[in-house]
């Protein structure tokens, strides 16, 4: 891994985002709008909004970053830029690290904006500290980035890449404990939910919803999310080939 190349890749990816004003508006605006809508829907039951608000705050960045990364990486693969880069002194870790860095920064911006507005304007009430909410949201976004990178290897078109989102994210979302508490799921599904990273992302946010302190359970859940992220990056790296048929 060469820091110069990793950093150049991150800067390049951020420059691409910077040129795309509409995407910036969507990245920042859509989750904000959805959180606002949710707060409005539950304006008569603020307790319920507090219960699921933080979890959703963690899921939006994951979904958005999954889509952005899957499509961007697919473009790299299909346009020949990836082949060109891999014929240069570019390491796979530089490529993945550059993207993780750039999208991690974009996700941080998103999480800060959405969390700030949710906590101040929309009246979301969490017991834990705001910085921890942002931290979990960023970890979730990195998870989305890593999953998107990996999945892009199996998509031949951008249309397919987008279709992978419901296939990869939705089952995790359904079993994450957001709709039905995980210990009340049928036993088989409960076991399945244990090997899905989003379950731990939701657990981390639930912890912050109810507990005023940042404890071992939060760090444990965060560590699991980051572990899945690293595993997905390693799987993603295995799909980057210098030599192709």
């Amino acid at each position: 891994m060469t820091w110069r190349i990793t950093w150049a890749t991150a800067r390049r990816a951020l420059t691409q985002i910077r040129h795309d004003h509409r995407s910036i508006a969507l990245i920042l605006g859509v989750p904000t709008m959805l959180m606002g809508l949710l707060a409005w829907m539950y304006s008569d039951q603020p307790g319920f909004f507090d219960q699921i608000g933080a979890s959703l705050l963690g899921l939006f960045p994951c979904i958005v970053m999954f889509l952005i990364t899957a499509v961007t990486t697919l473009r790299e693969r299909r346009s020949g830029t990836l082949e060109r880069l891999l014929a240069m002194p570019m390491g796979k870790a530089d490529f993945l690290g550059g993207y993780a860095l750039a999208f991690g920064l974009a996700a941080t911006a998103q999480a800060v904006v959405v969390a700030t507005l949710s906590l101040s304007v929309f009246g979301l009430d969490v017991a834990g500290p705001a910085w921890a909410v942002v931290l979990v949201a960023v970890a979730d976004a990195l998870l989305g980035t890593a999953l998107g990178l990996w999945v892009s290897a199996f998509a031949a078109t951008e249309f397919q890449a987008v279709q992978f989102m419901p296939a990869v994210i939705f089952p995790q979302l359904l079993l994450s404990g957001l709709l039905v508490a995980r210990d009340q799921l049928p036993p088989v599904l409960e076991v399945v939910s244990m090997v899905m990273p989003l379950s731990y992302a939701v657990d981390a946010m639930k912890h912050l919803t109810t507990s005023p302190t940042v404890g071992a359970s939060l760090w444990g859940n965060l560590a699991v999310v980051l572990g899945f992220t690293l595993a997905a990056l390693v799987l993603g790296a295995a799909t980057l080939r210098r030599r192709t048929p």
Binding site: R4, Q16, M88, T244
Partner: protein, 249 residues
């Protein structure tokens, strides 16, 4: 039939076989490219030109054979900043400006930042440097991609149809640039299916259906085939089949 490593050969290919999609697309090709020359790789599309180039750059999985580039096996990490590769389809980021693209690739190669202005001038894009590539014409887009290969100090340039879609003036300018580079010791392998570009090459490799059917200079080729133009020579060789060529099956 392994050829000895010649001191002044930039590329030595020996008995190269490549299979793509279950089909053998190169059938044991052997050739040598001398340093500091412009070598034209000609032939109909689908004949294996791009596959050969991909093998030289080390991005092609090869079935068997030896591919040595600048004295090292193709694809060696040490070669990655010494070999410039232009793919047939322009491979740059369409949502960045020409300058942003070149700055990025220069950083990856470890080339000095001043290289960006130099290569922009070499491909005649200085005035369009700050335009987003997706808003450029097809020819400009292709030239941004070509400029990337000129960054740093490559010793070998593998260019897959660098002049396709360019107007005659620009094409002539680029061929002058190729010769300037060759005079400085750079080796160029340039593919084309425009036969008249053969007149600008020191040496010609004619490829058809995965076989090398000629490896000679243009005058030699015309004499041997008793032809007046490359086109005619090529048609005669195609009619004669692979016999009489250096790259026997």
């Amino acid at each position: 039939m392994t050829e000895p490593r010649v001191g002044d050969a930039a590329v030595v290919v020996s008995d190269l076989r490549v299979v793509r999609g279950g089909m053998e697309v190169l059938h044991g090709m052997s050739l040598t490219v001398q340093r500091g020359t412009v070598t034209g790789l000609l032939g109909p599309s689908g004949g294996g030109k791009s596959t050969l180039m991909r093998a030289l750059v080390g991005v092609q999985i090869v079935e068997s054979g030896v591919v040595d580039v600048l004295g090292l096996p193709a694809g060696s990490p040490d070669l990655r900043h010494r070999v410039g590769y232009l793919t047939q389809a322009p491979s740059v980021y369409p949502d960045l400006t020409a300058r942003e693209n070149l700055s990025y690739f220069a950083a990856v190669l470890g080339a000095p930042a001043s290289d960006v202005d130099r290569v922009l001038a070499e491909v005649d894009l200085t005035d369009a440097a700050d335009r987003v590539v997706s808003q450029m014409s097809g020819g400009q887009h292709a030239r941004v991609s070509l400029a990337v290969t000129l960054l740093g100090a490559p010793e070998l340039l593998v260019l897959d149809e660098p002049t396709v879609g360019l107007d005659p003036v620009l094409r002539s300018d680029l061929w002058s640039l190729f010769h300037d580079l060759a005079d400085r010791g750079v080796t160029l392998l340039v593919s084309s299916h425009v036969m008249d570009e053969a007149t600008r090459c020191h040496r010609l490799l004619l490829v058809r259906e995965g076989d090398l059917i000629a490896d000679s200079t243009l005058p030699e080729l015309l004499v041997r085939t008793e032809s007046d133009t490359v086109e005619e020579a090529f048609l005669k060789l195609v009619g004669a089949g692979p016999a009489g060529a250096n790259g026997d099956r």
